[in-house]
Symmetry: C2
Subunit: 754 residues, 2 copies
Amino acid sequence: MKKLFIAAAALCAVGHAYAQKTPADYVNPFIGTSNYGTTQPGPLVPQGMVSMSPFNTIPRPEHKVHTDSWCSTPYVWDNKWMIGFTNVNLSGVGCPDLGSLILMPTTGPLEVDFQKYASPLENQVAKAGYYSAKISAYDVLAEMTATTRTSRSRYTFPAGESHILFNIGQGLTTESGGYARIVSDSEIEGFKIMGDFCYGVPQSVIPVYFVVRTSKPAESVQYWKKQPDFSHSAIKDWSSTSNQYKVYTRFKQPIAGDDIGVAFNYSTADGEVIEVAVGVSYVSIENARENLDREQHRKNFDAIYADAVTAWNEVLGVATLEGGTEDQKTQFYTGLYHNWVHPFVLQDANGDYPEMESGRIRRMPQGADRLTMFSGWDVYRLTPFMGALFFPQRQNDMALSMMQMYKESGNLPKFEIAAKEFMTMEGDAALPYMTACWFLGLTKGIDTETLYQAMLKNAAAPAEENRIRGDQSFYAEHHYIPLRTPFDNSVSQAIEYYVADWSLGQMAKALGKTADYEMLNARAMGYRKYFDKNYGLLRPVLPDGTFMPGFNPREGENFKPVNGFHEGSSWNYSFSIPYDIPGLVKLYGSSERFVDSLSACFDKGYFDMGNEPDMGYPYYFSYVKGSEWKTQYYVNQCLERYYGNKPGGLPGNDDAGTMSAWQNLSMMGIYPACPAKAEYVITTPTFDKVTIRLDPKYYKRSELVIEAVNRTPENIYIEKIELDGKPFRGYFISHKQLTDAGRLTIYCTNKPQK
Amino acid sequence: MKKLFIAAAALCAVGHAYAQKTPADYVNPFIGTSNYGTTQPGPLVPQGMVSMSPFNTIPRPEHKVHTDSWCSTPYVWDNKWMIGFTNVNLSGVGCPDLGSLILMPTTGPLEVDFQKYASPLENQVAKAGYYSAKISAYDVLAEMTATTRTSRSRYTFPAGESHILFNIGQGLTTESGGYARIVSDSEIEGFKIMGDFCYGVPQSVIPVYFVVRTSKPAESVQYWKKQPDFSHSAIKDWSSTSNQYKVYTRFKQPIAGDDIGVAFNYSTADGEVIEVAVGVSYVSIENARENLDREQHRKNFDAIYADAVTAWNEVLGVATLEGGTEDQKTQFYTGLYHNWVHPFVLQDANGDYPEMESGRIRRMPQGADRLTMFSGWDVYRLTPFMGALFFPQRQNDMALSMMQMYKESGNLPKFEIAAKEFMTMEGDAALPYMTACWFLGLTKGIDTETLYQAMLKNAAAPAEENRIRGDQSFYAEHHYIPLRTPFDNSVSQAIEYYVADWSLGQMAKALGKTADYEMLNARAMGYRKYFDKNYGLLRPVLPDGTFMPGFNPREGENFKPVNGFHEGSSWNYSFSIPYDIPGLVKLYGSSERFVDSLSACFDKGYFDMGNEPDMGYPYYFSYVKGSEWKTQYYVNQCLERYYGNKPGGLPGNDDAGTMSAWQNLSMMGIYPACPAKAEYVITTPTFDKVTIRLDPKYYKRSELVIEAVNRTPENIYIEKIELDGKPFRGYFISHKQLTDAGRLTIYCTNKPQK
């Protein structure tokens, strides 16, 4: 299959070589579908509630990644056996959820056991808003596209017995239970319960409602359900269905169960096309139907697809690229595309959405969006800056949605999906995220004091009353978190609280709230407690204040459990004090020692490009005068080594676009090395020229241009910098400086400026 | 517990010794709850859609009978651990179904895993329409009563944290899947899918809808659901809920799944009473609610119970007993009570009921009942005669319901529950059942020709078009069924077809349809093919017409699999030619040889009182002049040996009242030894006098009296018989003779009349 893809991509490139390619044409949705990128190739519109994906991560001997291993994506490029196309998905995440409501066309005698009806795919084509493949086992061509809250599939069948399966039982989510009702011979409705993302908050449960409609009335519509397993019981000798899938040939009342589905059965002529529309809602079946009625009213497949392409070109078209290779352009536009997958629209076409936590139905004002999927730990680092540059209005909408969650539940969230808090990963991500938005001017419509108090509540409420920081008593007093139990994430947790509290402290300072600032800043400076001079690294500390004995700074590599750190070793966290690199340098005693140690990360292979904690490392060299060239060197190295126009072209979980954002910002030569500080480190751009059309509601200038002069594969270093044609000193530039000036010109050279 | 029961029964007897006992007072619902009787002790009204039962057949080391063994009842007297009270049940059957919608009061921290919240019972009291017990683990007094389509429970709680659980996941039925919605803090609604009775027709699925309402609003109402088992998956290391019951503390949208439930949570004062009403429907949630609203409107627990007692006295009061012991009276009234459990009312209070097979909603005319639970193989033998004597109108209603099923589905059913055909056991039971009704005058409102054609369709339609007799090609041509596969039930199946076709043949004869009569009768005479003179028994025959080699006539005892016979040995079937005992005697060559062989059944222990095929055996002696005393002897022996006023007081599965009917008819001294022949064998009655109030719509006389003169424990033989005061010759009397005369007097003696 890999070969097939490359051939298809090559053909595609040839076919378009002389045509005018739109930004959407550059998108390659296969990027990130291997190497644990956990993105999916199926269609969606920007921030669509509905996205489709082939589901091929079923347990099979041939599959290395599957749902019985650790698997957080419905699709990996390398797998073979596919059981259908999901309608709701999370992209780039590290835990399984959603990835369900699976449509599958089949032929021949009806088979509903996914392990038995699974098929390989051939001739996969994935574009922005479109996916197609031949389903080998059935000789069916499957094409699909989407609107915000619906999907549309077009199946071309061979002659004979054909079926459209809607599998409600399988999926990524580890929550269970579904309900379905046959409405007519061309429509079913129901819901499936999803949620339990990352297992931290088992009470965070997400019901997803659906309506499925076929273009042709079926000859019969039949439920199926996995039957109980009686292998432990005398009944096993009697029941012919124990642990089997039973097709209900006559039962037409509503059905419910853990593992159910519905089959539409047809006799098809050769080449007969049957289309399927799926409407989804997080509120109700009625709303799922209304979403379908409104968004697909009198539209055929091609019109829906054309609308999807238009929508993608609108959001991707804010950036124009000159120079660079076709692959690099594809990487860039696909990276931007990945940043338009999450958050997604939660409210229905009529404005209904579930209130945070309670699930009660509320209604958004017309034209306003309730955005969801705040994967805090991932997105606070880069997303506000991507938003500021490429989609300020949407970023502001996200800030408004965050405040709405606060109003509804009493707290800014930590990791929210579909109005439920999942508490995933460490820290208190809303604080650096929202302060970044505030400093970047992306909190229009939000009262500053209300915003500040919302954040202060997370930071300052006593632990016992604190839904987000129930563990912060010791931290609040002592400014660090001791190692209490083996493999706890104490240092990682403290680092995230530091970043959060430092961010809020900066806002407190700006607002003249001196006492708050001092309290918060004092906490953030607590990181020094972990610094072990002997290692030049952060080391877990025991409750009595002494260092944990038996410290091995490489323990924790490859996501192995380790004392004090989460998903990494001490090396991956020890420089993650982005708000005080100069302070860290001081702890080292000399700039040289700091730079040597940071360089060791890269040169000795301690660095992990695939996860967030250390992804800022290459940029920290720029905090040491004379070492900026190392930023330029390692950033270039990382882009070349870890990124590419290929399924494995992301270094790890895309994390709701964060890994893609690292790529895009690095390719542009500007990177926000400190969250919540509206400032970029400047490095060597990839393209000769990137032009960003700026939103006039947010900026005086109509565009921002970042130019690279003399950029060649060898010229990876910065020779000099000009801002709006005038010489610019240093390697740091504020967001305001940059966007006010409108033009940043970077002269490149093959000689590092040591 | 056994001891406790006996003590309670004794107390009860003393308490009532000097009061006027009503028939309902005599009912002991514990009869049949041990020794595989599979009756239940909980409350119901006559033919109630709803019946309650403690559910204590969960798998536990202490339980000999439980749902992982073969278990077709929610309750056995001998078990200890109880998980609540079911609201829908089948009584006396041999396969698991229904036995679900389980209410349970508990106290202390909420526990929803049935294995963990199970409790012993103390002080069980069971009466017609009432059951109570102390739930030991929680010190809760649980009382319950019922209306036709609803139940009412009254729980007296101690002080503290209390719960009312509604368990939708557990039950006897092996179908699965439930749905529930929290309507308010005192009401839930939903459905559970049941069916798959006896595993013969997996497509026969029964949805049961419910509404549960509490008298006191709960402080919280919470769902629970058994979570998926991830023991085979990497997720096991992450999920804290794998294979556990999860309580949903915040989720309030509708829930669905294989194993779900709902908890109403309270703080109760000491002695606080909370009542729970459950409405059930086989049509819809709305109808379940309407049933509840209509049948419990403004009625308190005591009023509902009083109505139930009145209803029981109305139907049991048609019989008045004189003589006999208190235990015998209890046995008799409880036997009659068991005959009022099934069939039960299927239509809702508004008349809605599910159409046969399709499940489409139809409506009964006002005042008419659609009765369900036609357990054909069991009930065709005795039930029409019980109906003729004790409840002719209801029996006629059942015949009307059977015709309705025919009109809706195209066939008279074989084994119907809740409008679904389950094809359980052998034969074509509707034919002997309906011809019996016709000969007994219990088919008012049914056109005779329509009825005849309905039956003829079952009997004569070619196998490939025959939903009931898909296997009858060979039989129709050769008049027997050969043994084709090991352990098939070929002889049993043929015997049932013989009885069915003989019955219909009798009706054909009566209607002057001579050709039909001859065809049908010729089939019935095919039994001779199986008669092996060497054994004097029926022996399986191979397709080539020769006897099966290796015949062992005792093989098949104790329900072991055997070639040719179902649930029994050749001994249990070889005399089951009730329509042609004289013919069978001829095959034996001499009456003596026949009587010797039949006697051997009893004397050598081949006879099985616990199942239908041979239950007529004791009466077949009366077909041989001079051997009638053996009927009197063995019937008396069977009544003494297999029946009693105790939990083990039925010889086996009550089979929807059939085993109880054997007892009652035998105790009255009249037994219909040939199905569909409106005639009784006369034997020695148990009571001095049984007076049956006859229904004036069906009989000229207002009562039927059967007297025993000189009946003592020793006088078990008949000396002479008088009909309406005149000498009566012989031991057979037609139903018409008997009811026209109105008085049968049997003089008893201790000397057999040889």
